[in-house]
């Protein structure tokens, strides 16, 4: 089954009208409106979840990141000045929150991989046997072996489809650094995926 991202990638800048909406929403959230938090959640939770999933390759940890991101938003909304889109502000929170979970998620995944190697059988999701799922699983495993900074940039550029300028805003590094990290990430991933195939 081919699935598409529920929303197009965020542009960190956004139009003036969208930005004034964002500022108003952030102000409402900052003033303690639960309704505004709910609106922000409904609008962006899928986007945050997908990004978190791609950064962590683990659904449960991604769900925790979604929760923490929106809880953090209600605290941090007062700092939003409208220089970038609120969505980008939210994604940058999600990236930071995901960093806290990355190591723990990787450790859990390795434990479960060990478990999978025991091959004790049982019911498996039939989708896991499809070709696409296999490619995706290999990709996720290769991403686990990238340094955190390269993984973030690769996921944001290649999987989320953001420009290097947008990623530079989200990650907080110069655009040239984004491009360098992306180049290294691509090279490393090619090597990893080829090695894996040759084994």
């Amino acid at each position: 089954m081919i699935r598409q991202d529920p929303q197009p990638p965020a542009s960190p800048k956004g139009t003036d009208a969208a930005r004034s909406d964002d500022v108003a929403l952030a102000a409402e959230i900052g003033s303690g409106s639960a309704d505004a938090v709910a609106r922000a959640f409904d609008r962006w939770h899928q986007r945050v979840r997908i990004l978190a999933r791609r950064l962590l390759a683990e659904d449960a940890a991604a769900e925790d990141v979604v929760q923490e991101t929106f809880v953090a938003l209600s605290r941090a909304a007062g700092q939003f000045r409208g220089d970038a889109a609120l969505e980008a502000f939210l994604l940058s929170i999600a990236i930071k929150r995901a960093r806290h979970h990355a190591r723990a998620a990787l450790r859990r995944r390795r434990t479960l991989e060990d478990y999978a190697r025991l091959d004790i059988g049982g019911i498996r999701d039939p989708e896991h046997h499809t070709y696409r799922a296999q490619l995706a699983a290999r990709m996720a495993a290769a991403l686990d072996r990238l340094p955190r900074a390269q993984r973030e940039v690769f996921v944001l550029c290649a999987a989320e489809g953001l420009s290097s300028a947008a990623v530079s805003v989200l990650v907080g590094v110069p655009e040239s650094t984004v491009r360098t990290r992306l180049l290294h990430a691509r090279r490393r991933l090619r090597d990893l995926l080829s090695e894996e195939h040759d084994e």
Partner: protein, 219 residues
């Protein structure tokens, strides 16, 4: 195409399989509960500040009033005062307008907050302590003690499900599998709105497989 040099195919597959939408209803409820808690805390802090300001004003005005009163009442009573000065003070007392009545500090106009005064802050601190021991210090012993402390004091706390699940992870790391199984069963059964249920089931399977393997090794 399965070679690594066709990176785009891997990326496409990765994008498609990770883009599964989820309704996120349980997470939404938890976000709103946590945000509501924060808002409540902020309001309490605001009220506390207001009450403190009112109290400070009351104390200050009382102090000022007492100083004036003391000046008027105590000074003439000084035994070492020369008679002439005492007479002057007496005159002042005679012509002074009546002192304003010093009102006692008002009762706090604010009702007692519906939750424990320190409840939310202490809960956040307890959670933070456990979170640090678990995710940063990577000490299962300390983390387990901290999660237990959190759950003892905040059994129905906002983060009770996370605390229970993370406690179970600590028990696994400490190889206390019987207790871990008991702790994970409710999650696997879908309690807590299905929070971490898939992972709990996987961990229960893993522990069961581990036990089977060690039993067969023993035989």
């Amino acid at each position: 195409m399965s070679r690594g040099d066709d990176l785009d195919a891997f990326v496409r597959a990765f994008r498609e399989t990770t883009a599964t939408p989820a309704d996120g209803r349980a997470t939404r409820a938890r976000v709103l509960a946590a945000s509501g808690e924060q808002i409540h805390r902020r309001k309490i802090r605001g009220r506390g500040l207001l009450a403190a300001t009112i109290g400070l004003l009351a104390v200050t005005s009382a102090a000022v009033a007492w100083t004036g009163l003391g000046w008027r009442l105590w000074v003439p009573a000084q035994p070492s005062d020369p008679p002439r000065e005492r007479a002057a003070v007496t005159t002042v007392r005679a012509v002074a307008p009546p002192l304003p009545r010093v009102e006692p500090p008002p009762e706090s106009p604010l009702p007692h907050p519906p939750i424990h005064k320190e409840g939310s802050d202490s809960e956040a601190r307890a959670y933070e302590r456990a979170h640090r021991a678990h995710f940063f210090a990577h000490s299962p012993e300390r983390a387990l003690a901290a999660w237990d402390a959190y759950l003892r004091d905040h059994r129905q706390g906002v983060f009770a499900p996370e605390a229970r699940f993370n406690r179970a992870l600590c028990l696994i790391r400490l190889a206390r599998y019987d207790l871990a199984v008991e702790a994970l069963k409710p999650f696997a059964a879908g309690e807590w709105h299905g929070y971490r249920s898939a992972e709990a089931r996987a961990l229960l399977d893993w522990m069961s497989a581990k036990r089977t393997a060690s039993d067969s090794d023993a035989q």
